[in-house]
């Protein structure tokens, strides 16, 4: 995808001779023997790993942690052979360095490198970001290298070839956007008018992150659903692919954590499992190469790949309640109460009608 160094040099009008001189120079700079020069030249002419810029907004770094848990493909394979992670805040050696020179702040170290990378790979890099974007207080709830994260992500998205939201925060706003959203956080898709891939999950399954990146590298853009999620990973409900589904069908349910039914591995539907409404690969792909997923470990799914799932609690309750001022009550209880009130009103009406009717009859006599 990326331009090779040689192509860049040619475009800049630099001669082959100059280019070779540069190659010799950087060979020395890297501390390599002069015999390595031809190889450096070759690399500069042909290198083409996909450049990736990975930004971090209001997040917990759980998505990056999930990324490095992948073993099929290994995160190390991706990092060394498929992509070139040119900017990130979790793994890279360099930090951002800023200092003042002639009254101006110089961006050096990793942030200086970022500026160069964006220039070099304009329109060709993949922009990956985890975390929400706070808009409150002019974006000053998240400041990176002295600038609001909001400005960085909007700016870098402009020149990206592909945008990829990793995690629920980047895709839907996530935990900081839960009621009352004190930082006024939003997903990147609210700010950027560009097609993007959403890989929600808190965090997403490691292989879902690396699988999406691998798909981009091998086959290009993955097929997406109406919400921008890769269909291969978000096409199915967890419920429809759950190994406990037969217990659901048979009406065999866990009523309380660790009851006898829980020991038998029955369906967690009644203690609030969000599997029936959550689209993710937990049921088919599972975690860590198929070892488990929350339901298999006896925990009701909290629907962490679902939009605004944080505000759909309590998690141990099957259905969301109806929110009245200061209280939240079960929809069915509201329904039954409403039915009772209606029946009462109708009975009163009927009695009134009866009296009235009797009166009319009396009038007739």
């Amino acid at each position: 995808m990326g331009k090779t160094y040689w192509e860049a040099f040619k475009e800049a009008g630099i001669s082959r001779r100059e280019f070779l001189k540069f190659a010799t120079y950087i060979t020395g700079l890297m501390g390599l023997a002069p015999s390595m020069v031809p190889k450096v030249v070759e690399a500069l002419e042909t290198k083409e790993r996909i450049p990736v810029i990975w930004l971090h907004g209001l997040e917990c770094t759980g998505c990056t942690e999930s990324f490095i848990r992948s073993n099929a493909p290994y995160a190390s394979d991706l990092l060394l052979n498929v992509i070139t992670l040119e900017y990130d805040e979790t793994l890279p050696a360099a930090a951002g360095i800023l200092y003042e020179e002639n009254g101006k702040m110089v961006r050096s170290g990793l942030v200086g490198h970022l500026d160069k990378v964006v220039e070099e790979y304009k329109g060709k890099y993949i922009l990956v970001y985890e975390g929400g974007v706070p808009l409150g207080n002019d974006g000053r709830y998240c400041i990176v290298a002295g600038r609001p994260y909001k400005e960085d992500v909007i700016e870098l998205a402009k020149h990206a070839a592909v945008l990829m939201s990793v995690g629920t925060c980047a895709s839907w706003g996530g935990i900081q956007a839960a009621r009352p959203n004190p930082t006024h956080s939003v997903p990147v898709s609210d700010l950027v008018n560009k097609p993007l891939i959403k890989v929600p999950g808190c965090p997403p399954i490691p292989e879902v992150i690396t699988g999406t990146i691998l798909h981009l590298a091998l086959f290009g853009m993955p097929p997406l659903d109406d919400q921008g999620r890769p269909k291969q990973f978000f096409g199915n409900r967890i419920h429809d692919t759950c190994y406990r589904r037969p217990f659901f069908n048979a009406g065999q349910f866990v009523e309380k954590p660790d009851d006898d039914a829980a020991k038998k591995g029955w369906c967690l539907y009644k203690i609030g499992c969000r599997g029936p409404t959550t689209y993710a690969s937990c049921g088919n792909l599972r975690w860590f190469g198929g070892i488990s997923y929350p339901i298999q470990s006896g925990a009701p799914c909290i629907g962490c790949a679902d939009k605004n799932f944080w505000d759909k609690g309590p998690f141990f309750q099957r259905e969301k309640g109806i929110v009245l001022p200061n209280v939240e009550v079960d929809a069915d209880k509201v329904g039954v109460a409403a039915a009772a009130v209606t029946a009462g009103a109708l009975a009163v009406h009927a009695i009134a009608a009866g009296i009235r009717h009797a009166g009319e009859k009396d009038d007739e006599h």
């Binding site: 951002g96 409150g136 975690w287 470990s297």
Partner: protein, 635 residues
């Protein structure tokens, strides 16, 4: 002339951290330092009015690197408030998950977040693979004694499956790959190329660089296997599932669908064995090799900072289920790891240090200041507030307009508050825990458990190997990093110990993992219930404080390890005080002002977790709302 330089973003950490140091260029001395947390998410505001049974899920998202620890602190706090005692099995399982976290988090920190401050892939290219293989053998020979402290309690481990490869061909293959990457010009995570110009990268011989880089890659692939206990017991990692009252993972030896049965325990067993190997044969040996050279060859004793004066710990790993924290304080009767205490003045050796135990009666002395934080208190910014009564009202008008040039330390400059214990800032973390336990045992305040004894043995053994007294090597950036490695070794043992206890208890016929008598909120009764949940997170002492009113959370806050360390300065009746980061930076030399590698090293030795530090202040919901309305950028 003093020059000011900013490090922002500090990478290889969790979250967003900004450092500003003023360096005297002639003496390479740091004359002033600021550490500023630059993000706020407001999770504690969001936690208000929610179901306490869900709090763990919200709290857990404070940090994805030290995942599970906030969930653990949260369920402990809610159980403390509601008087729930968890069953034995869930106590063992939670301890295995915590020990697993120690092992994983410390190892990932050393190789993937800290190693590149010491070793460079560019230097590794100069190494001779044959000599590197020799070096690997020598390292095993020289520091291998410490591996004797490792113990497989289950007795099931046949042999060391993960063992360092000491062959030239292996190192050659790794070197070739690095060569290819460096030559391609696409350095990726090793970019930019000029980063590696710092003179300190020349300190270690090239062979050490190559060995460490090879292990960097190998451990990048191995680390995922270490957290498999989280996946078995909690369903996933990061962010496994917890339960107020125990754990979700029911145990049954009758049913193949059960979350835990013999086959599933086998997965945990394997992970625990791999952890023992990865820590003992890779992590500790590499760590000691680098530490030895830096301390003995280069006399590099910088970065001790606040640890020299005051450290704090809460203690952890309850051997058996405990009643509570805040009512009877039974937790502290049950713990194995007696890092619950405060030690003053360790710099003069354990004999002269002042030890004080931390227990139930200490809870009232914890408080937080907002003097230099982007928050206000209704009682005035100069007064500290106890976390149960704490508040956080963001002060948006005090956040300087962007772009930032330099922060003004005379005003508010961080999203972190300043926690204090008895009015004083303290350093927390593995180093703090090791100092507290060491001094406590040596001075005879603690009746040592096997954990405490192991801590003392490790410290004495390393002191002997290095030929340096404990108070000298420990109180430094290197010492902080070594203490973390030793604790990882302890974690691997604890893992195995509690797995054995779990086996034994299941064998005795007990399969209960949850106390579900109070699962239904209607059993909690009316009124206010206060609780605290404490734990020793990989990064230090962690406490979550909850007030439950009826069936919902009225107030929630956490004082997290990184807050203790990253906090901005304060001034109170005990004088002007700095927290650990700033103190440690002041205690560090900087050779090249525009490449403050030493600063990064020192800060990384704390394993910063900034998302922790910044989300976690409690806030008055109404105030926040009104602030939001006033904010000009509401889109």
């Amino acid at each position: 002339m003093a020059k000011r330089v900013v490090v922002d973003p500090v990478t290889r950490i969790e979250g967003h951290l900004r450092l500003e140091v003023t360096v005297d260029e002639k003496q390479n001395k740091v004359v002033d330092a600021i550490s500023s947390a630059t993000m706020w998410r407001g999770i504690e505001v969001i936690l208000k009015n929610r179901d306490p049974r869900d709090a763990w899920a919200f709290a857990q998202r404070i940090c994805g690197v030290c995942t599970t620890i906030h969930a653990l602190a949260s369920v402990r706090a809610v159980e403390d408030a509601l008087d729930i005692q968890i069953p034995k099995n869930s106590n063992y399982i939670r301890n295995i998950m915590l020990a697993t976290l120690y092992v994983h988090d410390h190892l990932v920190h050393f190789y993937h977040l800290h190693a590149l401050d010491w070793v460079s892939p560019v230097e590794a290219l100069k190494a001779d693979p044959v000599k590197t293989a020799e070096l690997q053998k020598a390292v095993i020979q020289k520091y291998g004694k410490i591996v004797e402290l490792a113990k497989d309690y289950t007795g099931l481990k046949a042999y060391a499956r993960k063992f360092p490869k000491a062959t030239p061909a292996y190192f050659k293959a790794v070197q070739d790959k690095i060569k290819q990457i460096v030559e391609s010009g696409q350095l990726g995570i090793f970019a930019p190329a000029d980063w590696w110009g710092h003179p300190d990268y020349k300190k270690l011989p090239p062979e050490v660089h190559l060995m460490a880089i090879a292990h960097y890659l190998e451990m990048l692939d191995t680390q995922r296997e270490l957290v498999i206990p989280h996946v078995v017991f909690g369903g996933k990692n990061p962010h496994p599932h917890y339960l107020v009252g125990g754990m979700n993972c029911s145990i049954s030896m009758d049913d193949g669908n059960a979350p835990v049965n013999a086959a599933r325990l086998g997965l945990v067993q394997t992970a625990v064995e791999i952890a023992l190997d990865a820590i003992n044969y890779f992590y500790i040996l590499d760590l000691l090799a680098i530490a030895d050279i830096y301390l003995n060859k280069y006399n590099w004793f910088y970065g001790g900072g606040l640890a020299k004066e005051r450290v704090l710990g809460f203690g952890d790993f309850p051997d058996e289920p405990y009643k509570d924290f805040s009512k009877t304080g039974d937790y502290w009767n049950k713990i194995l790891y007696h890092s619950n205490g405060v030690v003053h003045n360790f710099k003069e050796g354990w004999q002269k240090a002042k030890y004080e135990e931390f227990n139930k009666d200490s809870l009232e002395h914890v408080a937080e200041y907002v003097q230099h934080s982007f928050y206000h208190y209704t009682v005035g910014d100069n007064k500290p507030l106890h976390p149960w009564e704490g508040q956080t009202i963001p002060a948006p008008e005090d956040v300087p307009p962007t772009p930032w040039k330099f922060l003004d330390p005379n005003h508010k400059y961080s999203y972190s508050k300043t926690p204090v214990y008895k009015g004083l800032t303290h350093e927390v973390g593995p180093l703090a825990r090791y100092i507290v336990t060491y001094v406590g045992v040596k001075q005879g305040h603690i009746k040592p458990t096997w954990v405490d004894e192991m801590v003392v043995k490790q410290i004495d053994m390393v002191s002997e190997m290095l030929g340096i007294p404990a108070e000298k090597w420990m109180l430094s950036t290197v010492g902080r990093t070594v203490a973390r490695g030793l604790e990882a070794q302890l974690g691997a043992n604890l893992n195995s110990y509690f797995l054995k206890k779990l086996y034994d208890n299941i064998k005795s016929g007990d399969t209960q993992v949850a106390n579900n008598t109070k699962f239904d909120p209607s059993t909690w009764g009316p009124g206010k219930k206060r609780g605290v949940g404490m734990t020793e997170a990989p990064r230090g002492a962690l406490s979550h404080w909850v007030v439950i009113n009826g069936i919902t959370i009225e107030n929630y806050q956490a004082i997290v390890p990184t807050t203790w360390n990253v906090a901005p300065r304060i001034k109170n009746e005990y004088g002007e005080q700095r927290a650990a980061y700033e103190a440690a930076m002041l205690d560090t030399e900087v050779k090249v002002v525009k490449e403050p590698l030493e600063i990064l090293r020192t800060i990384h030795s704390f394993d910063p977790c900034l998302a922790c530090a910044t989300h976690i202040y409690n806030s008055d919901g109404e105030e926040v709302t009104s602030f939001n309305v006033n904010s000009a950028c509401a889109v």
